[in-house]
């Protein structure tokens, strides 16, 4: 049993061990550190989206709302009551969950079209942005800087380099991808996939549409809310622009381009698209600041039209081919297990 377990998770463990070594190589290069950290951050968000979007088939456009809620909860707890973000970010996760339930509860009722959830979650981001813009005690139009750093770095989660953040986010990513894997192979996962395919058919097979979708939404919003807390510490300030429509749509694009319902799909998409975006931003600069989003949009549309299951299956085929040409037949089963 132990043996099987270790071969099954071998690719998983080796890939993440390799990633963990990255800072040793590039820690001097600040720009590269920012890039890999950003990639991991988006990979976490998109992998979490995979649960509600990829599996349950709900077009959730609310990631920006949950990030903002998590960030403001964590940041405000730290500045006002000096509560460490290590705790604050989980409280932020719960705040996000409660908002998510507030919109999930009415909209996941049986026979209410998926569309309304998509619209509501997308609008939630913009609405919360305005609320926090107007709510001067907590938000307001100017940045609110977080205290800490220096001696207090660990307590206030405010480090002067990206390396600690990199590892924290990497741990998040490992957890989220493992969670994805577990859900995908459990009753919840099968229920969600069935709901995503056809709600009527799933219901008459005994799948509780509302209950399962709510579970998926709660897991997703908790993760994103928690990441939001981290996000605030990473930037070192709070601003209503954290409630960002761009982030929400980017998360969706990564989830779909990567491959819906596929555990490692969003991570793959994040590696390519986020690096590409950062490259574009560096290469084109201010004048064409909006261009990367246009490119993202085109990638989304092209993938949706010509490769609707995302890029992950392509990579899987490539991977299997490479393994086979190396002559390692015994690895084939492990390649499968990693999906």
């Amino acid at each position: 049993m132990k043996q099987i377990l270790s071969t099954k998770y071998l690719p998983f463990i080796s890939i993440f061990s390799l990633i963990a070594l990255i800072p040793l190589v590039i820690s001097k290069d600040q720009y590269a550190m920012v890039l890999v950290t950003t990639v991991l951050l988006y990979a976490v968000l998109a992998s979490a989206w995979n649960i509600i979007g990829g599996m349950a088939g709900q077009l959730d456009l609310g990631a920006g709302a949950y990030i903002g809620l998590g960030a403001f909860t964590t940041g405000t707890l730290l500045t006002r009551w000096n509560i460490t973000p290590w705790i604050g970010m989980f409280i932020g996760g719960f705040v996000s969950v409660s908002f998510a339930i507030l919109i999930g509860l009415p909209l996941f009722r049986f026979k209410i079209k998926e569309l309304w959830y998509a619209l509501t979650s997308s609008a939630l981001v913009e609405v919360l942005r305005i609320v926090f813009l107007m709510w001067d005690e907590v938000g307001g139009p100017t940045e609110k800087y977080l205290p800490g750093g220096g001696d207090n770095a660990l307590y206030s989660l405010r480090f002067s380099t990206y390396i600690p953040y990199f590892y924290i986010i990497l741990i998040f990513l490992v957890i989220v991808i493992y969670l994805n894997h577990r859900i995908r192979n459990s009753k919840l996962g099968f229920s969600l996939l069935a709901l995503g395919e056809d709600e009527d058919a799933a219901e008459v097979l005994g799948v509780d549409a509302r209950g399962n979708k709510l579970k998926a939404l709660m897991i997703y919003s908790f993760i994103v809310g928690t990441v939001g807390g981290l996000y605030a510490c990473l930037y070192g300030f709070l601003h209503p622009s954290f409630f960002s429509t761009e982030i929400s749509t980017e998360v969706v694009i990564l989830g779909i381009v990567g491959g819906m319902g596929i555990t490692y799909g969003p991570f793959l998409a994040a590696i390519f698209l986020v690096s590409f975006r950062e490259y574009l931003r560096a290469a084109l600069g201010g004048e064409l600041a909006g261009l990367y989003l246009a490119v993202y949009a085109v990638v989304l549309i092209v993938v949706a039209l010509f490769q609707p299951r995302g890029i992950a299956p392509l990579f899987r085929r490539l991977f299997e081919k490479v393994i086979r040409s190396l002559g390692g037949r015994e690895h084939e089963s492990s390649a499968k297990a990693s999906s």
């Binding site: 979007g53 077009l59 969706v252 819906m260 246009a294 549309i301 949706a304």
Partner: protein
Amino acid sequence: MLDMTVQSIITGLMMGVIYALITLGISIVFGVLNVVNFAHGDFVMFSMYLSYMIGTALVWDAVQTPLITIPVLFIFGFIVYYLIIDRTLRQMYVVQLAVTVGLQIFMRSMALIIWKAQPRALQYSIIQGNIQIGPYTILTSRLVAAIISLIFIAGIAWFLNKSWAGSAMRAASDDLDMASLVGVNYRRTYALTFAIGSALTAVAGGLLMSFQQTDPVGGIRFGFLSWCVLALAGLGSIPGLIISGMIVGVAETVTITFFDPRSRLLVIYGIFILVLWFKPRGLFGRK
């Protein structure tokens, strides 16, 4: 106080008719294709920019610009349908919707690149001036816009009920299998529907330019407004649509008059959520 209330209600009612016109486009596309075009608000924004460009280049009045923008947006709708929407119809619903989100981001960032972030407005309109009724002022431009909107809504309603293409659209929205049995070519019907929905934003865009400015993120607001009107109206009732548009319009202007103008989206979102909580089929919906 009372005067201000009445004044803002009057303004809101007139704005509401334009919102109803914008929503009509979403509504017929949703009814027939069962897809909501997330980019619809950005179509409005795009139309407004087109009106702006035509208005400045040809020194036309804003209300004349739809003469050109209607055909442009109609063809644009056709192209978008055949190029993108048509190919996603057999895919999962998430993907269908997400593609229109992609379209939305694309249009918004293109607008940012082409027209930059600063708002644009046309110089003046021939329908300037106001009508004074007792203590109340009615901006002529808004009144004209509301009346033209009503005419277009009525025209579309007539088209849906009386023409063959209209019945094909209704048939396709009721039951696609039956519709194809009686010889409705669903792709052409879908394309026509999408193109009409798109052309309606050209009308609205021209009318809005006669008294408003446009900016690249304006699409968010119009998208928002029309979803709320759609949620209120449900599907299938044109008078319901107009009344819902007016409710949203009045809610908006009253908020602007008496509270913080920034909070107008909050009020609209509040209505939106409440309707979805308590009347998920809309106040007037049949389907």
